[in-house]
Symmetry: C2
Subunit: 325 residues, 2 copies
C-alpha cells in the first residue's frame, strides 16, 4: 500500500478547504430515468460547479494546500479545457500567478475564460510534445510549480469531495459511477468510498472509442491510447501512474459505452432533467443504460462531471458522432 495515497484524515482536511471555496452542488433525481433504468439514481450536478465542471475541486485543493513558499512561485499547467480555467480561478483566489500553456487552436471561449480569471496564457502548437516542451520552458523561466490535471494526489484528494458530498446527500449507495479519462475523478471517488462507504461498488464509465482504462484494468498494466476520437472530449486522456493503481485496486469494474449511447444519454439528461451536461458527463448514464444488469434495483450515485457542452455542435443535430473504426 502506497502511504502517499490520501486517506481519511487528508480527505477530511481537504473538505475544510473545499467547503469554504467550492460550490456545494445539488443532487437531482428523475423518476422518469429511474423507471427507464430500473434503478434509483442520484445525480451529482457538477455542471453547476464554478467553471462548469468538477475540476475546480481538485485545482482549489491543490492550490490552497501549497506552502507559502511554494505558492509564491506560482503554478503552471498545460490544458485546453476545464483544468486550465479551474487552475486559473483557484490561483486567483490565492492571489498567485497561474501560467497556462494552451494549444493555439483552443476554443476561443476557453481562452477568454482563462484570461477572465487572470491566467497568463502561453500558446503552443497543438501536439502533446509541443505542449509538454512549452510547459517545461515556462517552468524553467518562472520556477512555477506544475499542477498536473489528474496525476497529482492533491488533485485526486480534491476530486474525492464530489462523491463524499453525493453520499452525504443521497444516503447509503450500492453503486457509484464516475466517468474516467485521466482518472482523477474516478480515483478520488474510490478514495471517498474507501474512507466513508467501503461496501459501495465504484464503476468507471468510459467511451469504447477511448477505452484505455478498460484495457488497463483487464490486463492489469497501464496501456495508454493515443488520439482517441470520442465525442466525450474530456475523456480522451489516458490514466496516469498515480491514478491507475488506485483504480486497479478499488474499482468494481470499467464499463464502456458506444458513441451512440453517449449521445442518447446526453439527450435524455437534457430532455428529462433539464440539465445542460457535456458528453463526458453523459457517459455515466450511458454506462448504466448499456449495462442494466449491474444496476438493476440498485441505489446508484452518478457524477455528472460537467456542463461545458458546445451548444453549436450537439450530437443529435449533426454528424458529430464518429463512425466506429
Amino acid at each position: 500500500m502506497n502511504t502517499d495515497i490520501p486517506g481519511r484524515e487528508q480527505l477530511l482536511a481537504g473538505r475544510s478547504i473545499i467547503d469554504l471555496l467550492v460550490h456545494r452542488t445539488p443532487l437531482h433525481t428523475s423518476l422518469s430515468l429511474d423507471r427507464l433504468c430500473g434503478a434509483r439514481l442520484f445525480f451529482k450536478c457538477e455542471n453547476f460547479q464554478k467553471g462548469g465542471a468538477f475540476k475546480f475541486r481538485g485545482a482549489t485543493h491543490a492550490v490552497m494546500t501549497l506552502s507559502a513558499k511554494e505558492a509564491a512561485r506560482g503554478v503552471a499547467t498545460h490544458s485546453s479545457g476545464n483544468h486550465a480555467q479551474a487552475l486559473a480561478l483557484a490561483a486567483r483566489l490565492r492571489s498567485i500567478r497561474a501560467y497556462i500553456v494552451m494549444p493555439e487552436n483552443a476554443a476561443t471561449v476557453k481562452i477568454r475564460a482563462v484570461e477572465a480569471y487572470g491566467g497568463r496564457i502561453r500558446f503552443c502548437r497543438p501536439t502533446l510534445s509541443d505542449r509538454e516542451a512549452t510547459l517545461a520552458e515556462v517552468i524553467e523561466e518562472t520556477a512555477a510549480l506544475e499542477i498536473h490535471p489528474y496525476n497529482d494526489y492533491r488533485i485526486i484528494a480534491g476530486q474525492a469531495s464530489a462523491a463524499a458530498e453525493l453520499m452525504e446527500d443521497s444516503g447509503p449507495l450500492d453503486c457509484l459511477v464516475a466517468p474516467v479519462g485521466g482518472g482523477g475523478l474516478l480515483s478520488g471517488t474510490i478514495l471517498s468510498k474507501n474512507c466513508f462507504s467501503p461496501q459501495t461498488l465504484v464503476y468507471g464509465a468510459e467511451p469504447e472509442m477511448a477505452n484505455d482504462a478498460w484495457m488497463s484494468f483487464q490486463q492489469k498494466i497501464l496501456i495508454p491510447v493515443s488520439n482517441p476520437q470520442t465525442i466525450a472530449d474530456g475523456l480522451r486522456t489516458s490514466l496516469g501512474s498515480l491514478t491507475f493503481p488506485i483504480i486497479l485496486e478499488g474499482a468494481a469494474g470499467i464499463l464502456t459505452t458506444s458513441e451512440e449511447a453517449i449521445g442518447k444519454a446526453m439527450r435524455l439528461i437534457w430532455e428529462r432533467m433539464k440539465l445542460v451536461v457535456e458528453p463526458s458527463a453523459a457517459v455515466t448514464l450511458a454506462a448504466v443504460m448499456e449495462h442494466p444488469k449491474v444496476f438493476a434495483g440498485k441505489r446508484t450515485g452518478i457524477i455528472l462531471s460537467g456542463g461545458n457542452a458546445d451548444l453549436s455542435r450537439l450530437p443529435w443535430s449533426s454528424g458529430d458522432i464518429p463512425a466506429k473504426t
Copy 2:
C-alpha cells in the same frame, strides 16, 4: 375591487396543498449574468417542476380545490402544450378523469406525455374554433368541468405560489419579472406581491411579436392578437378577462423583447447557468437585458417558467427566429 380575486387567505390555503404535491423548485444565481446585467438576479427554476413547467402549480391547485361532487365529474381542457400534461397529472393525483382536447398536429412527445399521465385525448383540427367546439362536445357528453389554462382564479392562485416561494428564498426584492402569454403566471405573481411584498415592482416580459399584453396595458382595454409568430411558443395566447384587470392594476409595466434577444438570452442561460429552458422562459432575461435602466442595481427575481424546449430546433442552430414583419 373584484372580491372574487384570491387574497392572502386563499393564497396561504393554496400553499398548504401545493407544498404537499408540487415540487419546490430551487433558486439559482449566476455571478456572470449579474455582471452582464448590472443587477442581482434570482432565478426560480420552474424548468425543474413536474411536467417541466410552472403549469402544474395551477392545475394541481384547481383540481385539489374542487368539491367532491365537482371532482366526480372529471375535468376537461383544450391545450397542445404544458397545461394539458399538467391537468392530466393533477387529475391522476386525485384519481379523477381528465379529458384533453388536442390538435391532431400536436407534437408526438406531448401526446405521449398526456397519455402516460392517463389523460383521455380527443383530437381535433388545429384551429381555435375547432378546439373550442370539440371541447364543448366533450363537456356536453361527459359533464366534465372545464379548467381553463389561465382564465380561472383557481389556476391564477396556484401559479402565485412560484413567486411566493421565490421571495421566501431570495429575501426582499426590488423587482420581479414573469413572462406573459395568457397572463396566469403574471397575474399570480402580482397577487403574491400584493399579499407578501407590496413594495416590489412586478414586470411582465413579452415578445414584441406577440405584444397583446403591452398594447392592452398601454390602452387600458383588452386587445387580443391572433396567430402571433414568436419562437416563445408558450406566449402566443392573449390575456383573458380575469387576468387582464389584475395585470392592469398591479403590474409596474410590460417590457417587450425582440426575437433575437430571446434567442440570445436563452443561449446565455444554457451556457452560463447550464439550465435547459424554453424560449418562453428566456423572455424574462431578454427583457432585463433590453431594459437595463429599469433593473440597474436592483435585486430582481426572474421566473424561468419552463424547460420544454425542442432540442432538435434551437434558435441558434437554424432559421427559427422569424423575421420582423
